[in-house]
């Protein structure tokens, strides 16, 4: 039995029945990591020792008969911009190459409390600026579907980790679509929760009003289990919402009859025909199952990407100001303080980050503030209005996650605007703070396709229901193993 092919739910049952221990499971994952990590480069940092210690603790608790969370003893990982006490957190940036947080992010604390085992920290784009680790200061992560690296496909570490079995689930962070886009390109499930539903305390901010932590899992049941642990109000985060958290497993309902699903036609422009065909297939299936699918107008969609680019760069230029060499991270010594600031930041940040800092500084400067920043905020309001109107009529919206498959996105790091446009389907969701799910739905040219479902604020339950229904009613949500035999994936 290859343990790394099993879902969180399955592993949890095995441990409950005491067929395996958490220590054994952790060792199995460590072995798996040692097998594939040199090729995948999923991790920035591995935390083998603490993982084993945590696993033994869980086993002891289980032996004592303590009541445990379904996540107890489950090997997992998280993006390297989520702070973990005592474990290096670099944001995939040279400027934080040695930063060891003295505290846990709230999500890390909650997972620790649930007994989940942290295997390590996943590769991201430097400060999350990108959609597939092309901008990591260390190395890109290989997309496990592109077994021979023939297409040069890269992906997010947290999505690749789940796809290739280096972690049973992961937490990613999503500013413009990273969770959803990389989950789609790796054939796994990714969810960006409603802004405020999962605490951002301990997430190293890139664009505070857009960033959100969310889970990446193999199936919908696992997604519900992870959401149950990480959602909920946090007194340490002012933007955290005080809303009741439901038991998300109750939304795993195989039923979409009468559900009204909007199809924003503006999201179809620029979508590859084969991807559009997969979308159409999903629509037909949902209609067959009794859902009502209709086109909906989202007239301001074309302005979302530039507005997002301006707002995210503006916030990032300010959020990243604290990396000045005074207190933590890289310091390049110089003769005086301002030269030290300049040298540290010049050497510590990569090209994309510098570009965004400059852009953000520019749009906030006197004279440009109204022209760019304020205008972008107005566009943001219009985007929100588009969604509000659509949700008057529809329960959720369905779009592709990426306009093309992984092989064709994110391959031109010199053109950051083009890169930004690859998030054209995902980033409007961040502007509006809505929850959105990316669900695998078949393949095109050997690479997985992802569908995006968007719901009203705090209505993740709708997403779970639609996702679960598609998962139960089709064989498309778990891309088949034959195409990546090299990694011995046998799921489904």
């Amino acid at each position: 039995m290859r343990l790394y092919n099993l879902s969180v739910f399955q592993l949890s049952e095995l441990m409950e029945k005491k067929e395996i221990s958490s220590e054994e499971l952790t060792n199995a994952y460590l072995e798996r990591i040692s097998q594939v990590e040199s090729e995948t480069k999923v991790f920035v940092t591995l935390s083998k020792e603490t993982a084993l210690t945590q696993a033994r603790n869980v086993d002891q608790k289980r032996a004592r008969g303590e009541e445990l969370s379904p996540l107890a003893g489950i090997p997992m990982a998280m993006d390297d911009n989520i702070c973990t006490e005592g474990i290096k957190t670099t944001c995939a940036s040279k400027i934080l190459y040695n930063f060891i947080p003295p505290y846990d992010a709230t999500v890390a604390e909650r997972l620790k409390g649930a007994g989940a085992i942290l295997m390590g920290k996943c590769n991201i784009d430097e400060f999350g600026m990108g959609s597939s680790t092309e901008n990591s200061a260390f190395y890109p992560t290989q997309n496990p579907f592109d077994a021979e690296a023939a297409q040069g496909c890269i992906s997010g570490g947290s999505a690749a980790a789940v796809a290739v079995g280096e972690a049973a689930f992961t937490l990613g962070s999503d500013t413009s679509g990273f969770i959803r886009q990389s989950a789609a390109s790796c054939g796994v499930i990714g969810l960006k929760p409603t802004y405020g539903h999962v605490s951002r305390f301990g997430l190293i901010s890139t664009a505070s009003s857009l960033d959100q932590i969310g889970p990446i899992t193999q199936d919908m049941t696992d997604l519900a289990l992870v959401l149950n642990t990480i959602c909920g109000h946090d007194v340490k985060d002012a933007t955290s919402a005080s809303v009741d958290v439901p038991d998300f497993t109750k939304s795993l309902v195989n039923e979409v009859k009468g559900l009204r699903i909007g199809l924003p036609k503006e999201y179809e422009s620029g979508v590859e025909p084969q991807v559009a065909a997969k979308l159409q297939e999903a629509i037909s299936k949902l209609e067959e199952l009794g859902a009502i699918c209709e086109e909906v107008a989202m007239p301001h969609t074309e302005y979302a990407a530039p507005a997002h680019y301006i707002i995210s760069s503006a916030e990032a230029s300010s959020n990243l100001a604290r990396f000045d060499g005074v207190r933590h991270g890289l310091r390049v010594e110089a003769e005086d303080v301002s030269s030290m600031f300049k040298k540290t930041r010049s050497q510590g940040f990569g090209a994309e980050v510098k570009k965004r800092i400059m852009l953000g500084t520019h749009v906030l400067s006197t004279g440009n503030y109204d022209t760019y920043y304020v205008k972008a905020l107005k566009v943001r309001s219009l985007i929100k209005q588009d969604f509000d109107r659509a949700f008057e009529k529809f329960d959720c919206l369905l779009t592709p996650t990426n306009p093309t498959t992984a092989g064709k996105t994110g391959k031109n790091p010199n053109d950051s605007l083009a890169m930004h446009l690859s998030g054209v389907c995902t980033l409007p969701v961040n502007l509006a703070g809505l929850p959105a799910l990316s669900l695998p739905f078949g393949m095109v040219d050997g690479m997985p396709v992802g569908l995006q479902l968007i719901a009203r604020h705090f209505e993740e339950e709708t997403l779970l229901r639609v996702g679960y229904t598609l998962e139960q009613s089709t064989n498309q949500t778990r891309p088949k193993p034959g195409l990546f035999l090299k990694y011995n994936i046998h799921r489904g």
Binding site: P101, R322, V326, S365
Partner: protein
């Protein structure tokens, strides 16, 4: 004739009196070991975000209301971006676009006239950390250390309109501001501990013109008096520059207390702070009802108290002004008045002996051991004639230092006044017998000779004889003998 008019606006930073900092749970206590009152939030560590301390909103609202400001029911925080080692996040969280309080005023008294100074705004912001220069000052140091204990302390910045015209007015404004903020209990307002800091914007213009001249910003003033002197110096300096045909440069200047001059610190090129709404905090929304509740919690303010002291208790304006300039004095006065109804005599003792002793000992009233009821007891003893005024001054000093009750001190020191007529008559007779020459002089018409005899009686009683009684009895006795 002065051809120039000074135009002065003040920016006052006041540290609010809360137990914890503005966005985290760190203690605000003053004077602790460097970097011991810090956490990920106030150190701006990556990933740490803060949550607004609601007490700060209450105190800021209270201050705004006491300064006659309008209170915004929907305000928010903004970021002011700049780089400095004491600023851990690379931006300061402040209220740039919408201050919590705005359009207020306070009235000051200078040279017997009352003048209204308008307050533009009072907004909440966080304090940066503090640089500690190894060589004493930034220019003479090889390196500097940063103490982040102060980082994230809650401040309100109170900005006046440029409506003051002399150092004296600026000082009066600060004194009034301090008295009000102290009275409502929102701050310790101690300039020496940095809980009140003042920067002055100073410019001059020809009398009769209305356009503002180029201003300089004066910093590093550590007492109200130095604010006054620094402004007076700066006004003179600017006038000299203009008289010499030069022009004033917009810059920041530091007050050098030792040399009594302002010196150029840096040219201010209007830094672009690239302000925008703080995305990690939610707006501050206040209801009218809540604002009314805060308003109702404001105690009698110094101006009202002063009016009451004049109108109800008949104190002279001057006395009332001195007593209400400090909350401690005003409360001491009121408490004494409850037990001894003669307001003027209380005010005489407070303004005379009490203030003299506080100055001499360089103490705060709260540190002195004297209590209002012991002062009232002393005043009663004086009124009854049990002790002379002169002796009471000695007694009050002991009360001040040791906290004993006056009757106990009088007893211990044997200071009680002799008012027993039989006892006095005997002493008077003895003095008359011993000083026939003085008696003869008096009876020959040299009335001032009685002074010598009174002196002899006081000497014989070690000053304890009731002087009024001695005078009457002595005159009667001398008349008898004539």
């Amino acid at each position: 004739m002065n051809r120039y008019e000074a135009v002065i606006g003040l920016e006052v930073h006041v540290e609010l009196k809360t137990d914890t900092k503005l966005f985290c749970g760190c203690s605000t206590e003053f004077g602790k070991e460097p970097n011991t009152q810090v956490c990920p939030v106030c150190l701006g560590l990556p990933g740490a975000v803060g949550v607004l301390n609601k007490k700060v909103v209450e105190l800021a609202t209270k201050a705004g209301l006491a300064l006659n400001c309008a209170i915004g029911t929907y305000t928010w925080f903004d970021r002011k971006n700049y780089y400095y080692p004491d600023l851990p996040k690379g931006f300061q969280i402040s209220q740039v676009f919408r201050p919590i309080a705005y359009q207020g005023h306070l009235d000051i008294d200078v040279n017997g006239a009352t003048k209204r100074v308008n307050i533009t705004r009072a907004h909440i912001e966080e304090d940066p950390g503090k640089l500690v220069h190894s060589g004493g000052s930034i220019t003479t140091s090889r390196y500097s250390c940063v103490d982040y204990n102060r980082s994230g302390m809650p401040l309100i910045e109170i900005v006046s309109e440029p409506e003051m015209h002399s150092g004296e007015e600026a000082k009066a404004y600060l004194e009034k501001l301090k008295a009000i903020l102290e009275c409502i209990g929102v701050s310790d307002v101690k300039m020496e501990q940095g809980s009140l800091r003042c920067d002055a914007n100073v410019s001059v213009r020809p009398v009769g013109t209305t356009t503002l001249g180029t201003k300089t910003e004066i910093k590093n003033m550590n007492s109200f008096r130095s604010v006054q002197y620094a402004i007076e110096y700066e006004v003179e300096r600017q006038i000299d520059v203009l008289e010499d045909g030069g022009r004033v440069i917009q810059e920041t200047r530091g007050w050098d207390e030792n040399r009594g001059i302002t010196v150029s610190m840096r040219n201010k090129e209007n830094p672009d702070y690239r302000c925008f709404i703080e995305p990690e905090l939610t707006p501050i929304e206040l209801t009218e009802e809540w604002i009314e509740e805060v308003k109702a919690s404001i105690p009698e303010l110094p101006d009202a108290r002063r009016k009451r002291l004049v109108e109800e208790h008949g104190l002279p304006e001057y006395d009332a002004g001195v007593i209400t300039s400090s909350l401690a004095l005003a409360e001491f006065f009121d408490a004494t008045l409850k037990e001894f109804p003669d307001a003027k005599s209380i005010s005489n003792w407070i303004m005379g002996e009490l203030l003299r002793l506080l100055n001499a000992r360089n103490m705060e009233l709260s540190e002195a051991k004297i209590t209002p009821s012991s002062l009232a007891a002393l005043l009663k003893l004086i009124e009854k004639g049990s002790i002379s005024n002169k002796m009471a001054k000695e007694v009050v000093e002991i009360m001040f230092d040791e906290g004993k009750e006056p009757d106990q001190i009088i007893k211990e020191k044997g200071m009680s006044q002799i008012s027993d007529e039989g006892q006095l008559a005997q002493i008077i007779a003895e003095v008359i017998a011993k000083n026939p020459k003085s008696v003869a002089d008096y009876q020959a018409g040299k009335k001032q000779a009685i002074g010598f005899l009174v002196g002899q009686i006081m000497k014989a009683t070690k000053g304890r004889a009731n002087p009024g009684l001695v005078n009457t009895m002595l005159r009667d006795k001398l008349a008898e003998e004539a």
